[in-house]
């Protein structure tokens, strides 16, 4: 499913714009990383694409249909989202949480159908959380929890997977585990739009990178086109060594700490 964002502007308070006329295309089956400093508009853009926020102007289309024209249920069958953090009020088991991904596919009082069960099992396999099925969502570690929510999103069987800094709070092992699953999904043909801070992981997991600054997409292209020393310096204000991963051939970005002037 193609995602088409056209001249989208949005301001939280009606005055200071968080997005200024953003244009973005994510082709069907393509995976795109949104990178940029804090406050550059990545999360806001994802919220607009997911429908949580309505843009002040501009449109979001999924294939040819405007997002606003879809019912909540239709939208939830197309789009799934994993956020940075998610509160979990009650002691649901991991399997029960993954099963909530089926809500847009099930009738209000319907029992779990064979399709539901298959989708849930498959999602738990993909997210590598089978061993956690009966554990309480509140008792698993932060890294496992994010994989559970990824599993829930996959159980939704969406056309487009949206991820908003899903690995920010995770340790290295869980970051790598999570992003490996995302890459597998992208390679299997899922349309993916992910906001992420780790430029090196972004370069490995996605086809294209869109660099945001001050509410706009300033550069967009393949990882090695976008992740240049000049771009990193201009947008993040950071000096970095940019090179090619000796084994994978993907771009890496190695930032250097700054010595403050006396």
């Amino acid at each position: 499913m193609r995602v088409e964002v056209r001249s989208v502007s949005f301001a939280y308070d009606g005055r200071t714009p968080a997005l200024r006329g953003v244009r973005l295309d994510v082709r069907s089956g393509e995976s795109v990383a949104l990178i940029g400093p804090n406050g550059s508009g990545k999360s806001t853009l994802l919220k607009v694409v997911s429908g949580v926020l309505r843009p002040d102007s501009g449109t979001v289309r999924l294939d040819a249909s405007p997002l606003v024209a879809l019912s909540a249920r239709q939208r939830a069958r197309c789009l799934a989202m994993v956020e940075q953090e998610r509160p979990m009020g009650f002691d649901f088991t991991v399997r029960e949480v993954v099963a909530m991904g089926r809500i847009p596919h099930r009738g209000r009082f319907a029992r779990e159908s064979r399709d539901d069960r298959r989708a849930i099992e498959r999602a738990m396999d993909l997210a590598d959380i089978h061993g956690l099925a009966d554990r309480s969502i509140r008792a698993v570690s932060g890294g496992e929890r994010q994989r559970v929510f990824l599993g829930m999103a996959l159980a939704q069987e969406p056309n487009v997977l949206l991820l908003d800094e899903p690995t920010t709070h995770l340790d290295l092992r869980h970051q790598v585990g999570f992003m490996s699953i995302v890459r597998e999904q992208a390679r299997a043909g899922m349309t993916v739009l992910i906001a992420i801070h780790d430029l090196t992981l972004a370069a490995q997991a996605t086809d294209r990178i869109a660099l945001m600054s001050d509410g706009r997409i300033v550069v967009s292209g393949t990882p090695n086109e976008v992740l240049t020393q000049a771009n990193v310096r201009r947008v993040f204000g950071v000096d970095a060594v940019v090179g090619e991963h000796p084994e994978l051939g993907t771009t890496y970005v190695l930032p250097s700490l700054v010595r403050r002037a006396d």
């Binding site: 789009l79 998610r86 979990m88 088991t93 029960e96 991904g101 809500i103």
Partner: protein, 334 residues
């Protein structure tokens, strides 16, 4: 938590409800033999007139009212805890109890005549309190802020309590004062067929409505945005939940006063038994809340017989220590 286990617990509670109904009829200042109770219920004219009147006109409506009020409060508690995603919420967080008390106090102190004025006053007071709270919590963007909702509930509740205290002060003692206090503490003493007839349809529709929203309440435990992403509109859900819980709680309180702890403790205990899935939690909480209130009322009638304790005293005596025990043993996992 297995579906099967949930079903057994539901079945067990249904049996318990029937037993509670019988017990509530048999036990009291006048003990009625079980045989007479059955005969009275079935309209057998061979029973003594006194027993028949006690069964049909006094105890049966009282037990039924207990079942209705208890289930309404327990389901409101489940809905409020789900809405606030907080296990410490109760049906009274939005100022319903205080609003109802003010309305009831006004009716008792200033209106005389119709027996319907007290429940009507309580209902109007409760609805007014929630309307004010909801109005305050609805932002200019027409979205409801949960945070404002709870704070406004506390503030509006305090305001109505102050009005009630002022009214009590004005009443300068007397019989009316004790009427107000008894009502505030809660009790089934005003039970009669009219109150059962008014409450039954409200409770049926209210609980039915919350059951329809059970799945959405599950989704809401993922947070507002989490629920949104699986296709549940949180604002519409809040609106419906507020309408349904206000109707349930206000109607229950109008008939029986502000009985505490059922709406707080029953949902907890049931969550421990059947897990947090609202599709199971709501029906079992309804039955458990009803049974709990009937037995509390039996205790209220018999402990100091022939004097009658306010049933709210019993539910608090049973509920508060149990709640503390849960807090102590399960702590953060609540």
């Amino acid at each position: 938590m297995g579906r099967r286990r949930g079903r057994w617990i539901l079945f067990g509670l249904a049996v318990l409800a029937v037993l509670s109904l019988l017990a509530g009829i048999v036990i009291g200042p006048v003990t009625i033999p079980v045989r007479d109770a059955f005969a009275g219920l079935l309209g057998d004219e061979t029973v003594s007139t006194v027993h028949r009147v006690i069964v049909r006109q006094i105890r049966l409506p009282r037990v039924l009212l207990g079942l209705l009020v208890g289930s309404a409060l327990a389901v409101s508690g489940v809905a409020m805890q789900g809405l606030f995603r907080n296990p410490l919420a109760s049906p009274y967080v939005l100022g319903i109890a205080s609003g109802a008390s003010t309305g009831a106090a006004l009716a008792i102190l200033f209106a005389t005549g119709s027996a319907f004025l007290l429940p009507l006053g309580a209902f109007v007071g409760a609805a007014a309190a929630v309307a004010i709270v909801y109005g305050l919590a609805r932002g200019r963007d027409r979205r409801t802020s949960i945070f404002t909702l709870i704070l406004a509930g506390v503030a509006v509740g305090a305001l109505f309590s102050a009005v009630t205290s002022f009214l009590i002060f004005l009443s300068s003692g007397g019989e009316k004062l004790s009427d107000v206090l008894f009502w505030i503490m809660g009790g089934l003493g005003r039970a009669g067929w009219p109150s059962v007839a008014v409450l039954a349809p409200i409770v049926a529709v209210g609980i039915g409505g919350v059951i329809v929203l059970a799945r959405d309440l599950n989704a809401l435990s993922l947070g507002e945005e989490g629920a949104f992403h699986v296709g549940v509109n949180p604002d519409a859900l809040y609106r419906w939940l507020l309408v349904l819980t206000t109707a349930l709680t206000a109607a229950a309180v109008a008939m029986a006063g502000t009985i505490g702890f059922i709406g707080l403790v029953i949902p907890h205990v049931m969550r421990l038994l059947v897990g947090p899935d609202h599709r199971r939690l709501i029906p079992v909480s309804a039955l458990a809340g009803g049974c709990f209130l009937v037995w509390s009322d039996v205790a209220a009638r018999t402990v100091l017989a022939p004097a009658e304790l306010p049933v709210g005293v019993i539910t608090a005596f049973l509920g508060a220590p149990f709640f503390l025990y849960l807090l102590k043993t399960r702590g953060a996992r609540l």
